[in-house]
């Protein structure tokens, strides 16, 4: 990172402080964005290492490498770390870097809260990871932590888990409040709401979702804490509570959470496809309305995760149709991306490759989601590897590919250097192959009936599991190449121009590369 620091220093008389205090005390949106991005990369590698343990154990039937208890801890921590430590902080990091530059603001509206919301995160994950070394082991009840597994039958470390979820929630809420206040009040004159770049729109909607549901998650873990330590019976049937209530509260948070992890991706991909198609984005306002309707619908579909708990028929039909309705705005977005590319003069640089893979593979994940929305079919698919395949298709080549696309697309702006295009393309093709070899076969073994969350499986699933594990190792190790590419770009490389990409539009491309430490101290003129 030091190369970047010195570059900045040359550019500006009021540059960053020197040494570690720059990062500890910083209130600069670019510094905090960088911190978030590096933190999420570290979590991505830790969570990824856990995925490698899981796939190594599943390489062959029978118990080979880890104990079943440890396997359960791995699947739990893998899910929690990837969601709360990987994807969400990465998007917050991108928002920090990009939102102020895209709307012509000098910084985020609440810079000190910004510092706080980042710096409590490492503590949350330190607490969560330290539970691995506690008596009874780390949380082992799956990332959805259903009661009573997470209350009556939980290991003692569950209290640490609850505390760390509280901290993560506080961090997310502060980050979201910051984004909303910034977007609503700090746009440069001339940047009307319907003139905002789509990434800004996607984050505005995401931030509202976060403010609405993260407190509900905090409520759910607080109820768990009270059931475990203070003798209440929210989820305990013996005391008049109801474990199914836990699932309702959890998924009331959980489903909007799913869209929190995909809406910013929609924004990113819209920018990249527009740039590399060298055309104006097709259907800007329908993109905004589609995201708004997805966000609103996300509050009335939660019980589609619970079709097998014994819901009444009327509820199952309602949640089935409401879920399928989401395909309409999502379809609008996919068609708009395709229409943007239609007759464009497209080039296939690494960000564009990731964005295109996003469109195709996210659509596959969306289609398997529609299959899961069909109630009678879901009775069959529920808790099988088909579900695992579905949500990994929307999260890995969905959310994570969009984050990688964003990094390749904006890293010249951040560092002033072009990344190595040949290595970038290699990284893309390795990841693309790895992801599909890993997760596509999981559709087959899921439909054949292999249940999720078990360390062992019946012999007939052996072949596809081995294929899936090979794909996972390929995908996992190619991310080290990504780390290498990012480090190499930070250290040096071909100098980037201010506009960087031929077709790039937007305020962030009007400032020099690398972006000076302070941008838009006076609002830009918008024509």
């Amino acid at each position: 990172m030091s190369a970047v620091i010195e570059n900045h220093h040359e550019d500006h008389h009021h540059g960053p402080a020197k040494g570690i205090t720059r990062w500890l005390y910083t209130t600069n949106h670019k510094d905090i964005g960088t911190l978030y991005l590096w933190f999420s990369f570290a979590m991505f590698l830790i969570g990824g290492a856990m995925a490698m343990v899981i796939r190594a154990e599943l390489f062959q039937p029978g118990m080979q490498i880890v104990e079943p208890e440890f396997y359960n801890q791995m699947i739990t921590l893998h899910g929690l770390i990837m969601i709360f430590g990987g994807v969400m902080p990465a998007f917050v990091g991108l928002a920090n870097w990009l939102v102020p530059m895209m709307i012509g603001a000098p910084d985020m509206a609440l810079p000190r809260m910004n510092n706080l919301s980042f710096w409590i995160l490492p503590f949350a994950f330190f607490i969560l990871l330290s539970s691995l070394f506690m008596e009874g082991g780390a949380p082992n009840f799956g990332w959805t932590f259903y009661a009573p597994l997470s209350t009556t039958y939980a290991p003692p470390s569950v209290t640490f888990f609850i505390f760390s979820v509280h901290i993560m929630g506080a961090s997310s809420i502060m980050g979201a409040i910051n984004v909303v206040v910034t977007i609503m009040n700090m746009r440069a004159p001339g940047v009307g709401l319907m003139k905002m770049p789509l990434f800004v729109w996607s984050w505005l909607i995401t931030a509202y979702l976060l403010i609405a549901v993260m407190p509900v998650l905090a409520g759910a873990v607080t109820m768990m804490l009270m059931d475990i330590h203070f003798g209440t019976s929210f989820f305990n049937a013996a005391g008049g509570g109801d474990p199914v209530l836990f699932q309702h509260i959890f998924w009331f948070f959980g489903h909007p959470e799913v869209y929190i992890m995909i809406l910013p991706a929609f924004g990113i991909v819209s920018h990249i496809i527009e740039t590399f198609s060298r055309k104006q984005l097709f259907g800007y306002s329908s993109m905004v309305w589609a995201m708004l309707s997805i966000a609103i619908l996300s509050f009335v579909v939660w019980a589609h995760h619970m079709f097998t708990v014994g819901l009444p028929l009327a509820a199952e039909i309602f949640f089935m149709w409401a879920t399928m309705l989401i395909a309409v705005p999502t379809g609008v977005k996919v068609f708009n991306w395709v229409a943007t590319m239609f007759r464009g003069s497209i080039t296939f640089e690494t960000p564009m490759l990731f964005a295109l893979a996003f469109v195709v593979l996210f659509t596959i994940g969306g289609l398997s989601g529609l299959m899961l929305a069909i109630v009678p079919a879901d009775f069959q698919y529920h808790d099988t590897y088909f579900v695992v395949a579905h949500f990994h298709y929307v999260l890995v080549p969905g959310a994570i590919f969009s984050i990688m696309a964003a990094v390749y697309y904006w890293i010249p702006k951040w560092t002033g250097n072009m990344y190595d295009e040949r290595l970038g393309k290699l990284h893309f093709w390795l990841s693309f192959t790895g992801v599909n070899v890993t997760f596509f076969p999981q559709h087959f073994i899921g439909l054949a009936g292999m249940p999720r969350r078990y360390p062992d499986y019946a012999l007939q699933f052996a072949d596809w599991n081995m294929v899936s594990s090979v794909g996972a190792f390929l995908f996992g190790f190619s991310q080290l190449l990504f780390l290498f590419i990012v480090l190499k770009t930070v250290m040096g490389g071909k100098k980037a121009t201010a506009q960087v990409w031929e077709g790039a539009k937007g305020l962030e491309w009007s400032v020099a590369s690398p972006a000076p430490y302070h941008t838009f101290s006076t609002p830009p003129k918008i024509d």
């Binding site: 909303v180 206040v181 407190p215 509900v216 409520g219 008049g240 009331f252």
Partner: protein, 185 residues
């Protein structure tokens, strides 16, 4: 910070505890929803107000199921598994229970009714599930439930299942109860 930012910030900061409270409000809302719709097979006790005319009563079968919650070693079973009953009339059924351990234990039975739309029509006048059962080591008991199925029961329902799950709610920290480390059966 400008004025607009302060206003937005205040609104959002108020929204956070409101949503936190909403999470807790979901708990009673969930019960209200179940009560209104009769979902979840939960039996809610209400005063029996309708007149007890028995002339349009019909015969249905009432089935009993007993389940032991995990780690609950007691013997627990219905005296009769199926009863033919008349709607609009009181009937008494009994369950046999025995503490098979060598320690004093307290239990609580939790009822559930299937199909769920029958739950609102099954009224219990008296039930062992209204109170806790405390049994000495080896003690046995016959637990009664006095109930009535109202005539309003939808005509397509010919068979109702009343199921009880028995939970161990012994307070093992309580010194007055016998010590902990005893065998199960």
């Amino acid at each position: 910070m400008n004025k607009g930012s302060k206003k937005t910030l205040t609104k959002l900061i108020i929204a956070v505890p409101l949503m936190f409270a909403f999470g807790f409000a979901l708990v009673p809302l969930y019960d209200v929803f179940c009560e209104v719709t009769g979902l979840n097979g939960k039996v809610f006790q209400s005063e029996h107000t309708e007149s007890l005319v028995i002339d349009d009563g019909r015969s249905i079968s009432l089935q009993f199921i007993s389940t032991n919650n995990e780690n609950m070693p007691w013997t627990f079973q219905p005296s009769k598994e199926v009863m033919k009953i008349e709607t609009g009339k009181y009937h008494t059924a009994t369950f046999f229970v025995k503490n098979t351990t060598n320690k004093k234990m307290v239990a609580q039975a939790v009822p559930s009714v299937a199909p769920s739309n029958a739950a609102a029509h099954l009224k219990k006048l008296e039930c062992f599930c209204f109170e806790q059962q405390e049994l000495l080591p080896g003690e046995e008991a016959t637990l009664p439930v006095k109930l009535l199925v109202s005539n309003e029961l939808p005509s397509n329902i010919k068979n109702i299942i009343l199921s009880y799950t028995i939970f161990d709610i012994t307070d093992y920290n309580d010194e007055s109860l016998a010590h902990h480390e005893t065998g199960m059966e």
